[in-house]
Structure formats: C-alpha cells, structure tokens
C-alpha cells in the first residue's frame, strides 16, 4: 500500500508538471478523509467500508488521479465512540485539511460529526441506509432513506405477501425507532389497526430470542397473516435467525424482512434454515451486471480473499466516490461549495444496472431491491422497482410531512411548505 502510494507519488509529480494549467486552484495531493471505526463494536461493519474507500482511491490513482493530482487517503479510527467521531472529524478537516470525507455507519456517529462539518463547511459522504429526517448542507446521503427501503419493503409485505399483522422488531437505537415510527404511521394509513402492530426493542448484541420469537408466533392466533419487519442490528441478528430456525419458522409461515441484514451479516451463520426470508436493499451481490462483476473482481483482488462479500453500503461508497470525482472534475476545483453545486444532478451508473442521480436534497435516486435469502448466504433478487428518489423528510409523519429539502432553489434543508419558511439552515442534531 505504502509502496504504491510512493510510486504513484512520482507519477503524480509528472502529472502535475503536465497538467499545471488545470490544477491551478487545487493543492496536490487531494486528500480524502476516511472516518470509519476500525475498533470497537462497529468495526465489524465499518472496516469493510474503509477498505472499500482505499480500493476506490487506489483505482482512481491508477487511472490518473484527479485534476492532475494524486489522491491521498487519510484514515482515522474513531473507535466506535461517538464523541471521538466529532474529534477526529475536526482533526481531519482542520489539521489534515482533507477535501472530502467518507465515513460513519450509525446515525449517532453521523449526528456527532454534523455540527463540526457545518461549522467548518466540509463535505461528507454517508453510505448507510438511515432513518431520514435530516438534510444537511454538508452531507451527501448515498444510503437509502426510509422511502427507498422501509416503505417499499412494507408495500411488498402488504401487496405481495398479504401480511395483515406486523411485528416490528428492532435494536434500541435511533434508526429502528424512527423507522418503526414511520412504518407504524404508514401502516395505519394503509388500514392496519394499531393492535395488529407489535413493536419490540432489544439491546445491541441481544442473544436470548426465544421468548420474543414465541410472542411473534402467538400473534397468529387471530388468523391473520403475520410478518416481521426487522431493524435488528449487527450481531444480534445471528441469535435471532438461529432461534427462528430452531423454532421451525419458515418464510412461508412468517416471513421476515430485514433492513440491516446483508451479505456481510449472513456470512456469520448457516443460512440453510433461513431460505426464503427477505431483505430490502438497493444492492445485492448477486445483481447481474458487468459493472458489478468488475466491482466484485476488483474487491477480491484488493482484499486478497475470494470469500469476501460485497454489500449495499459498499455500493453506496462506490457511487458516492465516483460522483464526487466527477463533480470535482466538473467544478475544476475541490472547493467545497463549488463541488456541492456540481454534485446536484450528478449521475452515475448503479452496480445493479440503471443510473443513480443525486438530488438537490442531497439524497440519491436508486432502485429498491427485495431479495430472498439463499442457502449459500446470498440473495435472490425477486423484486426491483424503478429508481426512487430519496426523501429527506418522510411524508408519513405529521410533523415532517410539510417539510422539504432543496439546496438548489430554496437553499434550505428544512423548508416548511405550509408556512413557506426555512425552519433552519443548520441541522438539528
């Protein structure tokens, strides 16, 4: 790694000499901050994203860098500690003077970084599906908003599986809380009675699932089709799915759709008893496209392990990084405001086919896929929609229904269309 950087440093010097004209207002090298936890509880998910970023940067450098400059990754380890995210973000922006940062997994860590970004006017790419209700001037959300994952999955439950009674199981933190709130409100608007919605929250890493799974089974006692919408996070899924399998609950009896279970999580367990359960994402490793095959091959080569899987947040970084590269090229500078403006309407092909478009509310427009778990831990894509534009403020909660984000025309991330005022320019952390 170090070697390649050094070598390409030489190449960069040559490039600078050649392209001095168009690199006038760019300081070489262009620095890219990577702020993913490499230790602590979130390392399990975030280390992969750090590696993805290093791979993308390496590839970009091999392709000749950006604006005649070499890209340099600055990696920090916020150790799954939310205050450390704020501290490291400040270090990245003010000490290392990075031009853009890719980072965070949990919402709490993103919210910790937000005030620093807005204060120092920096650029940040957030790659994970999240609960919405936010649109910061300085953040581009390349993961799914609720209307790009939760709502279509719920529609699939209602229309395709005929589910009449819902168990919303989640880990107790902000993403499941807000998502379940939105879903409850959405389900009620679809005519599901309040007593037909069972909500349960468990702590991180929960492992004793027998009672909860029995409770879910007992929901079927009034003859309605029961379905589980799971926002269970990380390791806790392993115990949950093992218990499902142990109690012999097949996807035909009680289907489970998960929003936080991807290829990476399934690699931690034997999926032969889970065949047919579902997950909703914007990307699955089994997506059939040339770009995806290339991406997977590049990933395997970079990481040196054929068994490693790819997942949705990796695609989000892939799209986000390439869009940023194109935006910088379009703007001719790495200046934050110029790049932000160039980002609006930026297009880049998805790995699943089709094109992702960055909206003026800083959310992507992407197709929604539903996959069924296979015995080999992969997903069969059984449904995919047209691209859905991400909605920063959900339409299904009364408080946020009138809110809108438009950084281009309205220059506001939280615009109240009823009173026609900008509620606030900076974010509510």
């Amino acid at each position: 790694m170090i070697k390649t950087l050094k070598l390409s440093g030489v190449a960069a010097a040559a490039l600078i000499a050649a392209g001095a004209a168009n690199a006038q207002d760019v300081e070489c090298p262009i620095k890219v901050g990577v702020l993913h936890s490499l230790s602590g509880t979130m390392a399990i998910s975030e280390t992969t994203l750090k590696d993805t970023m290093l791979m993308l940067i390496e590839k970009q450098n091999a392709d000749g860098g950006l604006l005649g400059c070499e890209l340099e990754a600055v990696v920090k380890d916020p150790a799954s500690d939310w205050p450390l995210f704020a501290e490291k973000a400040r270090e990245l922006i003010s000490n290392d003077e990075v031009d853009v940062t890719f980072g965070s997994w949990t919402s709490a860590s993103r919210k910790a970084v937000l005030p620093v970004l807005e204060e120092l006017n920096a650029l940040y790419f957030y790659p994970v599906q999240y609960e919405g209700e936010e649109s910061s001037k300085n953040v581009f959300y390349t993961g799914a908003a609720p209307n790009q994952q939760a709502i279509p999955a719920t529609d699939y439950f209602l229309d395709e599986l005929g589910v009449e009674k819902f168990a919303l199981l989640g880990t107790d933190y902000v993403y499941p809380r807000t998502t379940n709130n939105i879903l409850e409100s959405y389900l009620k608007s679809k005519g599901i009675a309040e007593e037909d919605i069972f909500v349960n929250y468990t702590p991180f890493g929960h492992s004793d699932w027998s009672t909860i799974v029995s409770d879910v089974v007992a929901l079927g006692e009034d003859g309605k089709q029961v379905g589980v919408i799971s926002t269970i996070n990380g390791d806790a899924n392993i115990g949950f799915y093992k218990e499902l399998a142990a109690q012999g609950i097949s996807a035909d009896d009680i289907p489970v759709v998960a929003f936080s279970v991807g290829e990476e999580e399934l690699s931690g367990l034997d999926t032969s008893n889970l065949v047919g359960h579902l997950a909703a994402w914007n990307y699955f490793m089994t997506a059939e496209s040339e770009a995806n095959d290339e991406f997977i091959a590049a990933w395997h080569e970079f990481i040196g392990d054929e068994a490693r899987v790819t997942n949705d947040p990796m695609e989000a970084h892939y799209i986000g990084f390439n869009m940023w590269v194109n935006a910088v090229e379009a703007a001719g500078t790495t200046d934050v405001d110029a790049v932000r403006e160039a980002m609006w309407g930026q297009e880049f092909p998805n790995l699943t086919g089709g094109t992702a478009v960055m909206g003026v509310n800083h959310h992507l427009s992407k197709p929604v896929l539903i996959g069924e778990i296979r015995a080999d831990g992969m997903f069969d894509i059984i449904s995919s929609t047209e691209p859905v534009p991400g909605d920063a403020w959900t339409d299904y909660l009364p408080e946020s229904a009138p809110l809108k984000s438009d950084w281009k025309e309205l220059e506001c991330g939280m615009y109240n269309t009823e009173t026609s005022t900008c509620v606030q320019l900076k974010s509510n952390y």
Binding site: V75, W82, P83, E87, K111, E133, Y173, Y201, T419, Y429
Partner: protein, 412 residues
C-alpha cells in the same frame, strides 16, 4: 492554616504552577491567539483531558486514599454531562424555533414554542413530547444546580445503601459496576426521555454564541477546565491532608480497626463517595460541551474501568499521579488511534497501530500492575527527597504461607 497546608502538600504548589504554565503556553499557541501552532481540535482534546484528570483525581481520593475501588464513577461524570447537555440542547433549539415561529403570520404561544422545541429535540427518536426529566431544562441556573444535585444525590443514596449494609471490597466494586450498567441501560431506552442511544448532541454550539468561533470557545472551555482541575486539586489535597485524611487512609488500610477506634467509618466513606461523585459530575459538565455529544455508551462499565486504570498507571495514593496517569493514557490513546503513528514493518507482518494499540495498552496494564505498582507517580520518588509512600504489608497470600523459610520475607 494555608501555610501549614501548603508546606504539608508541596505537590499542590508545583501542580498549580505546572498547570498554570501549561495553560498559558497552550493559550498563546492556540488559534484563538492567532498563532495556530496548536489546532482547535487539539485544544479541545487538551481541555477534555483536563476534565479527565479532574475525575481521575477524584477517583484517586476514593480508591487510592479511601480504598473503595469504585467502578461507577464515570456514571456521575456522564450524569453531569447529561444535565448540562439538556440545557444546551433546549436553549439552542429554543432560539432556532422561536426565530422560525416568529416568521409566521401569527405570533406563537408559549405552549407552541415549547411543543416545537419538543418536536425538534425528540423528532430524532420519533416522539415530540417533553418527558418529565426535562422540567428544569429551560433554566440555566436550575440545570446547573442539577449538575451538582443529580450526581450528588445518586452517590449519596447509592453510597448510603451500600455502606450501611457493609458491602466492601470486591463486592462493592461489582455493585458500583452494576450501578453504572443499570444507569447506562436505562438511558439506552427511549423511555428514559434522554434520546436513547442517540444521546444529546451538538453540545459544542453554545446557545446565543453562534458568532463566537470555536477557536475562542475551545480556549474558554480549556481555561474553565484548568481552573476546575486546579480548584479540585486543592480541594482534594485539603481533604486528604490533616486528620480527615488520616482517618480515610486508616479506613483504607484496616477498616475494622478504625471502626473499633470509634470512628463512624460509614459516614467518612459516604462523604468521600458523594463529594467525589459531585466533582465527577462537574468534570463531566465541562467535558461534554467540548466533546459535543453524550450518549449512554459513555457511562458503560468499561469507561469506569478505564478510569481505574488511569489512576493505577498514574500511581494511587498521590493526587498528581492520578492526574498524570489520566493525561498520559488518554493522550497516548488519542495519538495511537489517530493513525499518525508509523507502522512497524517486521518483514513478514506489518504492525498497524490501529490494530495493535489495544493489545499494547492491555499488556502495559499488566506490566504496570506487576512491575511498577506505584505507577508513573513513582518516578517522582526518584528525584524528590519526599518520603516514599510506606509499603503496606498485608498477609503474604495463599501461595506462600507456611512454606516460607524465613519469617516475613519473600521466598526466593
């Protein structure tokens, strides 16, 4: 009194002097002074470290002087942070909301303002109602009082229950650990009304001070932390000197004997426990506005264990040792996780410090405990004429006992 106090505690003078000089140097070199040798983020780190030093000094009084190994003092630290955080969030949101509502055609009622603040703060966790615990959040002074009262009361009640039933030693440690675990689990729940896992955030933006750059704010907080540390140091030096200090050291060394001498041991312990709890709360209230966010993870049991480790590495039974230990380990930790430490290529394997730092830290705990029980503070004994802390002679442990060949000596 002052004269004797200072002569008895020469470390106070040197500590305050060093702290003062350090604070001045940092200020001069900071961005706020236009120099910029020390970045704002590093000033914040230093300010936070000062707060950690304060809570470590408090911990030293509890553990090093009184012999209570509390594994729950970070709970008080966190509670202090939560209390100040509630006011910071409320007041900041109030300004935003009032501005936005005043833009509407009809002026808002106080109830509307209150409700909108609720929606803004709790929208993140899918609620809009103000829980009862926020009752004082609108008032700065009431909430400041809570910074002292809430940790103090918790320490008082918990300490009273625990000491009354004579829970001591390891059991007390586990009990305090259970306390901090219960508190963090409680706060993790949304029902607790403090935004669950998300915690309180954006605390570095002081309400009404939007125009003041963070460079200036960080120096202000740095100084506030330095002053708090200085005062706390003097307070604890005073507490641990004199007769009171002798009694608590007596409790540490042999609780029963002190009790038989007629001292009300429980009262002394409770006082120390509560006082240090309050100081920890104040330290937390200064720490979290600099950190910017507080969430229940901050008071998970591991945080308090780290606190004990800092004190152990710094050297128990001397206040400056605890302070140095906290500074040393937390700054080192920050340095190693920053990715700035060069990797060590071994040919067959490259040691990336982000991967190996915790291993190094863990091994050094063991090494310090085994080889240098006096910690970093012990180094000062080499250069000062100060009487070393007398060796405590306990029993020789079950591994030796009667197999010893010479009475009272280690078997070779």
């Amino acid at each position: 009194m002052t004269r004797t106090f200072l002569t008895q505690n020469r470390s106070v003078f040197w500590f305050l002097l060093a702290l003062g000089i350090f604070a001045l140097i940092v200020t001069v070199l900071s961005e706020a002074a236009g120099n910029g040798m020390i970045s704002t983020s590093f000033v914040k780190t230093l300010g936070k470290t000062l707060c950690l030093m304060l809570v470590a000094v408090a911990m030293d009084v509890v553990w090093g002087y009184t012999g209570i190994l509390s594994l729950g003092h970070m709970a008080f630290f966190g509670l202090g942070g939560y209390m100040i955080g509630m006011w910071l969030m409320y007041a900041r949101t109030e300004i935003i909301v009032t501005e936005s509502l005043l833009a509407a055609a009809i002026p808002p009622t106080p109830q509307e303002i209150h409700d909108s603040i609720g929606t803004q703060i709790f929208g993140v966790v899918g609620s809009s109602e103000f829980p009862a615990v926020w009752i004082f959040a609108h008032s700065f002074w009431l909430q400041i009082a809570m910074v002292v009262l809430v940790p103090g009361l918790l320490a008082l009640v918990f300490g009273w229950l625990a000491f009354r039933s004579r829970v001591t030693g390891v059991y007390l440690s586990i009990l305090t650990q259970a306390m901090t675990l219960a508190l963090s689990l409680y706060l993790f729940q949304n029902e607790s009304g403090l935004r669950g896992n998300n915690g309180l955030s954006g605390l570095q933006n002081l309400p009404g001070l939007d125009d003041v750059p963070q460079a200036t704010l960080s120096i202000a907080f740095f100084w506030a932390s330095a002053v708090a540390l200085g005062l706390g140091y003097v307070l604890f030096a005073w507490v641990t000197s004199g007769k009171f200090g002798s009694v608590i050291r007596g409790i540490r060394d042999n609780e029963s004997r002190v009790r038989f001498l007629g001292y009300h041991v429980e009262g002394y312990k409770l006082f120390v426990f509560t006082l240090t709890g309050i100081v920890a709360g104040i330290a937390g209230a200064l720490y979290y506005p600099q950190a910017g966010i507080i969430n229940p993870n901050e008071i998970a049991p591991i945080a308090s264990i780290y606190l004990a480790v800092w004190v152990a590495i710094g050297g128990r039974g001397r206040l400056y040792g605890a302070a140095l230990g906290a500074a040393f380990v937390s700054l080192l930790s920050s340095w190693f996780t920053s990715g700035a430490v060069p990797s060590v290529p071994l040919g067959f394997y490259t040691i990336q410090w982000t991967d190996w730092w915790l291993v190094l830290l863990g091994v050094s705990f063991v090494a310090v405990t085994l080889l240098a029980p006096k910690g970093i503070g012990g180094l000062f004994d080499l250069v000062t004429t100060r009487h070393p802390v007398p060796e405590r002679i306990g029993d020789f442990g079950p591994d030796k006992g009667a197999r010893r060949t010479v009475e009272g000596e280690e078997e070779k």
